[in-house]
Symmetry: C2
């Protein structure tokens, strides 16, 4: 990092670095799983890894609309991976397409994230009204980034139980 950043830029790049670290760990771990492992539950009777991957795809895809940056692409998958539990829908998208969509989404999010200025990160997110945001300015776009970073970590913790104890 060689360019001099303003204080506000450092706040943003620090948060983005945390996103990058956890999302990279998660992606690397997903890449390390075989298709067979993806079809296994993370623990007996619990969600299958493929369900968690689809769930993360839906939740992180929704970041785009939650940041008021455009339309989410995978809202149709919410019925499989968000509003219903694993197993409720028999026919899932192919593992191959889920892996590809996950990679494409992360590249897409990365582009969006780099384009926002510090002032734009502190603007309202889409899940809060202008009125409520005026009362609580922490309900900003950056709060969505923080929340989704830890959501990635939450499910990485579960996925890791498939192959090793942590």
């Amino acid at each position: 990092m060689s360019t001099i950043q303003s204080t506000e830029e450092i706040f943003v790049t620090t948060a983005l670095k945390a996103w990058d670290q956890w999302t990279s760990r998660l992606s690397q771990f997903i890449d390390s799983l075989t298709d067979e492992q993806l079809l296994s539950p993370v623990a007996p009777g619990r969600n299958r890894a493929i369900y968690i991957l689809g769930h993360l795809l839906v939740v992180n895809d929704a970041i785009i609309s939650q940041l008021r940056l455009g339309e989410s692409k995978h809202a149709d998958l919410a019925a499989i991976f968000l509003t219903q539990p694993d197993g409720a829908v028999a026919e899932l998208p192919s593992i191959h397409s889920l892996r590809d969509d996950w990679k494409a989404l992360n590249a897409h999010l990365d582009t969006f994230f780099r384009e926002l200025t510090p002032a734009q990160w502190l603007e309202r997110h889409a899940l809060v009204s202008e009125e409520d945001f005026a009362k609580d300015p922490t309900r900003n776009r950056l709060s969505i980034l923080h929340s989704r970073t830890s959501h990635n970590a939450y499910h990485l913790g579960q996925l890791r139980l498939i192959t090793k104890s942590e």
Copy 2:
């Protein structure tokens, strides 16, 4: 939130709110577990919940020294809950004392966190040299907070497997 905050304060309170949310979720979940559940592995052959609680206690206690705010109190527990795997040490601290220490630590951290100004949050953390920090100002105290917030989430995801599928 009624007082008007500066832009820099909003960056900090947004990050602290994320810490509060995940730490509260984690603490509430730990409180909801019986002592018997704490002694169970989160999945067959994986870490016991009590090991994860002790591990979180050691890792979050270390935040104090990593932020250069004082001495960590529970460094002695690292030999049980950090550098060795679950089961390596037969004699653990009592569940009662771990629960108490967890609550006391969170209250303690909360006090420290509220006292730091935005400028102080952007100062170097203890794990990076002044030289390296000059090259990368994102290796600041706030980056430790981000990292530990998601680390809490990571292990909450695992603990939740004890009683329900998520």
